[in-house]
Amino acid sequence: MAATITAPAPNYLNATKGWKSWLLTLDHKRIAILYMVAIAVFFLVGGVMAMLIRLELLNPGRDLVGANTYNKLFTLHGAIMIFLFIIPGIPAILGNFLLPILLGARDVAFPRLNLASWYIFMLGGLFALYSIITGSIDTGWTFYTPYSTQTDTSVVSMTLGAFILGFSSILTGLNFIVTIHKLRLPGITWYRLPLFVWSIYATAIIQVLATPVLGITLLLLVVERLAGIGIFDPAMGGDPVLYQHFFWFYSHPAVYIMILPGMGIISELITTHSHKKIFGYKAVAYSSLGIALVSFLVWGHHMFVSGQSELAAMLFSFLTFFVGIPSGIKVFNWVTTMYRGSIVLNTPMLYALSFLFLFSIGGFTGIFLGALAVDVHLHDTYFIVAHFHYVMMGGTVMAFLGGIHHWWPKMFGKLYNEFWAKIACGLIFVGFNVTFGSQFILGSQGMPRRYYTYVDQYQPLHAFSTFGSWILGAGFLIMAVYLIHSLVKGKRAGSNPWYSLTMEWETSSPPPTENFIELPSLTHGPYDYDKVLPINVEPDGKPAKLKEAVS
């Protein structure tokens, strides 16, 4: 230890104090932490609901709750996880925290708008909470008409909540697009951007283009319920299937709002922890944009059995397959990136590998659902449930967890317990596969989704799945404990514990209020790992051999 102990330089966490300095902060990093706290609470609530759902399905008949309560549980689980956890999750937490730093900027383009987005997000959350208190909602997170216009549960407040959350999402996306375009440090060209930035950019485009349509759809639903305008009501000359078109026009691209940022994280994790230049930078970057564009043209694949015309079904099926190609290319690129790398199996990398495994399964099972004849059988069964959990949880959530573990030292300046982190990761991986792997078989055997009870032949697989949910729950419990422990008693992290070359690691951990005391050197690109040895890192966190290597 050095003899002279200097007071640690002020960072964004301790620069100012008091709850006001947090609730009125304009610092993108603090806003990210505000989101993190809120989203963690929502994830906990949604997760507990998932555990209750699985518990109820342990046996046929009523185990724990009746049909009405069960219907509310799965609706809330879906709505909370989608609107309050997975859509905002990566962009609002990691995007907010990292984006300006990765561009060498001091903040996002519109800091006040950024804070406003958080408040709008919380307002949306309050509406959801109000809905839960006043009778909850039992329509499923898709709010399909005419059921949603007829049920006497609290639909209006929940839909308004989702509408408001949409605004938060739009404003965040808008902020990010402008930030990426206008606030890059001179010298950071588009092709020198880390792939996480590209993926956030593609995500922001979808947020901005798709969310307004969801907004107007939900608004129509609200007006339909309040005034009975009959837009979606067959009794009054309306059409419930039109609602589905409107809804999926947003909600299918929304799936890519959820997965694209996760893909961006994986690009960062695999390059850093394999100490390897990304394979096919442009292919990975442009496939994000490709996915974003094609995602707008495939919404009808949610409606293959809704009675839409064969022509529409054919077109949507065809286009759906072409979302698969860029996703596949990304996976191949990531795997090839590891070739002749220098791979460390630490926790973030384990999550990245879990992502590769689970997301591949999620992607391949998507092919089954894109194939028209097979989809007819699998539509609205547990196969779908398993498929989207593999993509959303096996994909996005694994990437999110990997990202949290990767950037935790940067965000808080503390290291977590690596041993317990690996145990938790293992439990989550195994628990996830037990829970949802079994549901593929359940689904193709014919088990419909959204059933609180079922015919006896499905019982063994349901019990197996419920058992998996306990393993999964144990994994998350351990994670909560060691993460909180690290905040209190964790070892101090250096500025660059992973020897990463992206720019956020050039500033201290945690970063100072305006991100950089000394501006980043810009002597190397984010993935120039072939120019520096993985273990030679100076105490200040800068890779030692870099300057001479780059000249």
Partner: protein, 315 residues
Amino acid sequence: MDTTGTLFFPPGGSTYAGDVDSLFYFIYYASAIMFALVIGATIFFIIRYRRRQQTGKTYGKDHNFALEVTWTVIPTILILIVFVWGFRSYMRMNVVPRDAMEVKVTGQKWFWSFAYGSGASSVNELVVPVGQPVKLLMSSRDVIHSFFIPNFRMKMDVLPNRYTITWFEATRTGEFDLFCTEYCGQGHSEMIGRVKVLGEREFSEWLDAGSGPGQGESLVDYGRRLYTSRACNTCHSIDGSANVGPTFKGIFGRQEAMVAGGFITVDENYIRESILQPQAKVVAGYQPVMPTYQGILKDRDIDALIAFMKSLSNE
């Protein structure tokens, strides 16, 4: 025709089930091979290129045209095969053969009813002949439902404002599950019916017999049969427990408080009215969700149900 089922599928029972299964397994094995390659390569790289103490610089080449073209073209070809195959099979499932026998399917909260050309009808039990195409003309009385027979690999949404049409041809006799797969509220998970595939002769006998009481069957027994076959049991118990609707146990002669206020003694006329106009007088504590049975139950069916309820009160 397989009758045992596989890991992924229940035994098939329709003409196009085999085709769907084949496509499923084609995708399954193609995916499995590619998945094995991806994961195999990953595991190999992890072991072979793990970080050691003394390690050189990592490989700097970041593209390989031949490789990238290969992994773009091969999956594209595979998915085009899947697309064409899937679409052709889908058309086969959607184009109804000319000689198909038509059955009118009505979905409502929370049971299925079927009307046959001959005037026969049934509830929650679709009876069809083996080896003959059956066209289903479907509509809903309330919200969206979806008609799913796993063994036939057949599914179609049932909408309130238009007819949807699908068909199947059963290849063997037997009984199969029939599920509702579009979430439709409280009774969604119990909106389960059966599909009974009969031989041609048995089917025409069934049609002729209509749905009246069987030979020598008492009115009470017939009512008991209707209680399950007309799906009263979805919402009304006979063991005294409250469900979506009041229990039938001891219902006849009971004083019930009404939602609109006041009391009513349950008698023949009240039961009849509640079956035909369920919303007219609703028992307090229950939602007005029961659909009308107008046109589904004939007079003697209602008589039988009343007799059955009386028998439950006399016990």
